[in-house]
């Protein structure tokens, strides 16, 4: 790691000010991704502002009948919460699909959303990567690592977002609350938090510098079944090679794009009376595999259709 300084703010306002005051500063919550990347010098913060003890660790009912998950609620805490399990089972399943018990005990809601790709070439610092070094090129393109994007990739980057939780949150139409250094607060749909890579894959979210996520807000649970299923290369403790979240008629796909991929074409097809298989075919029509990741076409079509069938999505059309 490169040397850095460390401080612990008392509240959100102080945390925002601390990061604003120090160029190169970063928020540190659970650290399970940031510290990992700092060890490889992929992340090189000069200053860490430890937000893990801020009073953002609550799960609260909202007036609308949903839930507000504080930014520093741990993944374990959210997955264990009785209301989450009863009303948002796809979210609990998605969280429990990810990482390990130990990691979920540290990893936070906000940190999970902001985790970076697991692309092998992003992690191997001897390789060109436009995320690590804008303009350096992308070793994944033309490489042999196959867990890459089939939707929304660019000539600069074909990496995927590795989160399970975010895929369920996308299908659940979650909103993300963000606080900025100027005291402004805003809320945006989860779907608007992550960007597609375009020419600037190093800019992964729409958060402005110095902004921090303070909460994720779940709307009231949708009517209809929920499920999260994940395919991977071993039974546990492995990243997805493809995943599907269904909540009511809403569908999101994981490990297929630079962001949790909201399957709107599938949703429209379902609304129009399509069968699960037809709905997934409609979604996969816009996929652009690169030769190495072609298996994801069949995988996502089948897994998506199976999830839609299990939840009965489309039955009421």
């Amino acid at each position: 790691m490169k040397p850095f300084t460390y401080e612990r703010p008392a509240d959100v306002t102080e945390a925002l000010a601390m990061v604003a005051a120090a160029p190169g500063a970063r928020f540190l919550a659970g650290g399970t991704n940031l510290v990992d990347l700092m060890k490889l010098q992929i992340e090189q913060p000069t200053h860490l502002v430890d937000v893990s003890r801020l009073p953002l660790g609550q799960i609260e009912d909202t007036a609308e009948g949903g839930l507000r998950l504080g930014a520093t609620t741990t993944n374990s805490q959210v997955a264990a919460d009785g209301k989450v399990r009863a009303r948002y089972p796809a979210l609990a399943q998605a969280i429990l699909s990810g990482a390990s018990g130990q990691l979920r005990n540290k990893a936070t809601t906000a940190g999970n959303l902001l985790q970076r790709t697991r692309c092998a070439y992003f992690y191997d610092t001897t390789k060109p990567c436009n995320k690590r070094q804008p303009g350096a090129g992308c070793a994944a393109i033309g490489g042999i690592y196959a867990n890459t994007a089939i939707f929304g990739a660019s000539k600069a980057c074909i990496a995927t977002h590795p989160s399970d939780m975010a895929v369920a949150l996308s299908a659940l139409d979650a909103q993300v609350e963000i606080a900025g250094p100027d005291g402004q607060a805003r809320a945006i749909p989860l779907d608007d938090v992550h960007r597609l890579p375009g020419e600037t894959p190093h800019i992964e979210t729409t958060l402005e510098p110095g902004e921090m996520i303070t909460a994720v807000v779940l709307p009231p649970p949708p009517s209809g079944g929920q499920i999260y299923r994940k395919a991977r290369e071993r039974a546990s403790y492995a990243f997805a090679i493809g995943s599907v979240a269904v909540a009511g008629g809403k569908v999101a796909l994981g490990a297929v794009a630079h962001k949790p991929w909201r399957a709107r074409a599938a949703e429209q097809a379902l609304a129009g009376g399509a069968s699960p298989a037809e709905a997934m075919a409609a979604e996969m029509a816009s996929a652009q595999p690169d030769g190495h990741n072609d298996f994801k076409l069949k995988l996502m079509a089948r897994l998506g259709a199976a999830c839609l069938t299990t939840t009965g999505a489309g039955d009421d059309q």
């Binding site: 460390y6 510290v35 264990a80 609990a92 130990q102």
Partner: protein, 167 residues
């Protein structure tokens, strides 16, 4: 940077480079070498310790973030000559071979049993709203964050069951 926490029931104070992970602080600064470094990236679980009763990967946690925390490592489990029941079960069931992942497996087991007792679900819990029943499949899934390359998994399962794993 000055940091204090409670380590295996004793107060510990350190002056640390902020870059020091909890794992390296334990092993290199505090002389507690039982917690192991297998991958240093949260991918093996050999460094598992208990912080405020919950299991975490000590390799991905900066030591300075643990001010005032209560940390329990493998060295803090036995009472003198008397092994912790989970340690005794691992020995009896031959739940290890090379022994490198073992301290992490044992700490993880203790944290896992607490999580189950607290009613936490796992990926293989069929009914998320029902009480936790710690079946073999539940134990296997919940212990999957601790790799054992010697592959003592059947023996680890037996040890956890005999140490009170079956609810």
């Amino acid at each position: 940077m000055k940091t204090s926490f409670k380590l295996n029931g004793q107060a510990a104070s350190l002056d640390l480079d902020p870059r020091t992970t909890l794992l390296d602080a334990l092993r290199e600064n505090l002389g507690l070498k039982g917690s192991k470094k297998g991958c240093d990236h949260g991918q093996c679980g050999a460094c598992t310790v208990l912080v405020n009763g919950r299991r975490i990967n000590a390799c991905l946690s900066l030591a300075v973030t643990h001010e005032d925390d209560e940390i329990t490592t493998i060295e803090g489990l036995a009472q003198g000559e008397a092994l912790h029941p989970v340690q005794a079960a691992f020995l009896e069931q031959d739940a290890f071979q090379c022994g490198y992942c073992t301290p992490g497996q044992i700490c993880s087991t203790i944290g896992m049993l607490k999580e189950a007792a607290d009613g936490w679900a796992s990926l293989v819990t069929e009914d998320l709203t029902a009480d936790t029943v710690l079946t073999d499949a539940e134990i296997r899934e919940r212990m999957s964050g601790n790799l054992c390359r010697c592959s003592a998994y059947p023996q680890i399962l037996a040890a956890i069951r005999s140490a009170g794993g079956v609810a």
